[in-house]
């Protein structure tokens, strides 16, 4: 019986030992939400991300459009050359 009691205590300690320091570090559960004027600097939207996204979008859209016009023009001009050579 003493052996089982010791085993129970040892097992309980082994299982709960890694949890206890974590529980000790955890903040108490939040019971209400409190508004603040400014959010912490670490959580603000980074301006560089927005700037990079804006410039990146402009570059990709313009390059894509130049490529699209060149491709369509090449197609029409080859069709035109084909038709003109047929009509001669």
């Amino acid at each position: 019986m003493r052996f089982y009691r010791a085993l129970f205590v040892a097992t309980t300690l082994a299982v709960t030992a890694p949890i206890m320091p974590v529980n000790a570090m955890q903040p108490p559960a939040q019971s209400e939400f409190l508004p603040v004027e400014d959010i912490p600097p670490g959580e603000q939207i980074p301006a560089f991300t927005m700037l990079g996204a804006a410039y990146g979008f402009v570059w990709v859209a313009l390059l894509g459009y130049v490529w699209s016009i060149a491709r369509r023009l090449q197609k029409v001009e080859s069709e035109l050359a084909d038709l003109e050579s047929r009509s001669k």
Binding site: A54, F57, V58, A61, I69, V76, L80, L83
Partner: protein, 219 residues
């Protein structure tokens, strides 16, 4: 003009490649900080969006009232460029606004009327692609309404209360902010002119292809 297209595209490509360094040298704006530098691409795109609407409207008027079919090609070209530059404006604007105003979008007169013009261009191009016979004249009428929207968009920030900066911002820019702005504006304008010319040429060549097919059918 067609000989200038590769020159304009090449030069604008180089200038847009150098632009980040020129913009980086500009000072930060006092209230908005780094994100205000979106302005150096946003403003040229927005102005050329309005210029495209004016060109599309004038070319459509020439096509409708002057009975000049070539003008219709210029109108289609300007409408497509309007859609592209409008998209640049309507994407870069909210990216700037999210950081500066805390919201992606507000339904104020400047933003709403710009979105309306973009939708007119979209509707015009869809009509021209899928509208069938008669869509050229219907589209030209629509382009005139698009052009009528331009002065309203421009003055809206001065007439109504809005979050968007007023038109007085640009003439009062300090020199070290003005240089990168006009540098980017020159690059965007050269690219716009070259693309407009190439896109109109595409439309004129398409008209020739259709004419040749019709001549073949008649023969």
């Amino acid at each position: 003009m067609s000989k200038l297209n590769p020159l304009f595209i090449g030069l604008s490509g180089v200038m847009l490649g150098v632009a980040p360094w020129v913009i980086n040298a500009a000072p930060y704006e006092s209230t908005m900080g780094l994100v205000q530098k979106v302005f150096y691409f946003h403003f040229p795109a927005a102005i050329l969006f309005l210029v495209a609407a004016l060109i599309c409207g004038v070319a459509s008027a020439i096509f409708l009232f002057g009975k000049k079919p070539r003008a219709d090609g210029w109108a289609i070209a300007a409408a497509e460029l309007g859609l592209v530059f409008g998209s640049l404006t309507l994407v870069t604007g909210p990216l700037w606004a999210r950081k500066a105003w805390g919201v992606w979008w507000v339904w104020d007169p400047r933003l709403t009327s710009s979105l309306l013009l973009w939708m007119i261009f979209s509707a015009y191009l869809l009509l021209r692609k899928y509208g069938g016979p008669g869509s050229d004249k219907l589209g030209a009428g629509m382009a005139l309404f698009g052009m009528a929207n331009v002065p309203f968009i421009y003055v809206s920030v001065n007439v109504w209360r809005t979050l968007h900066p007023q038109t007085s911002v640009v003439p009062t820019l300090p020199t070290d902010m003005g240089i990168p702005l006009w540098f980017c504006f020159a690059a965007f304008t050269m690219l716009f002119m070259a693309l407009l010319n190439l896109r109109a040429r595409l439309e004129h060549q398409r008209a020739r292809v259709v004419a040749l097919y019709l001549a073949e059918d008649e023969a």
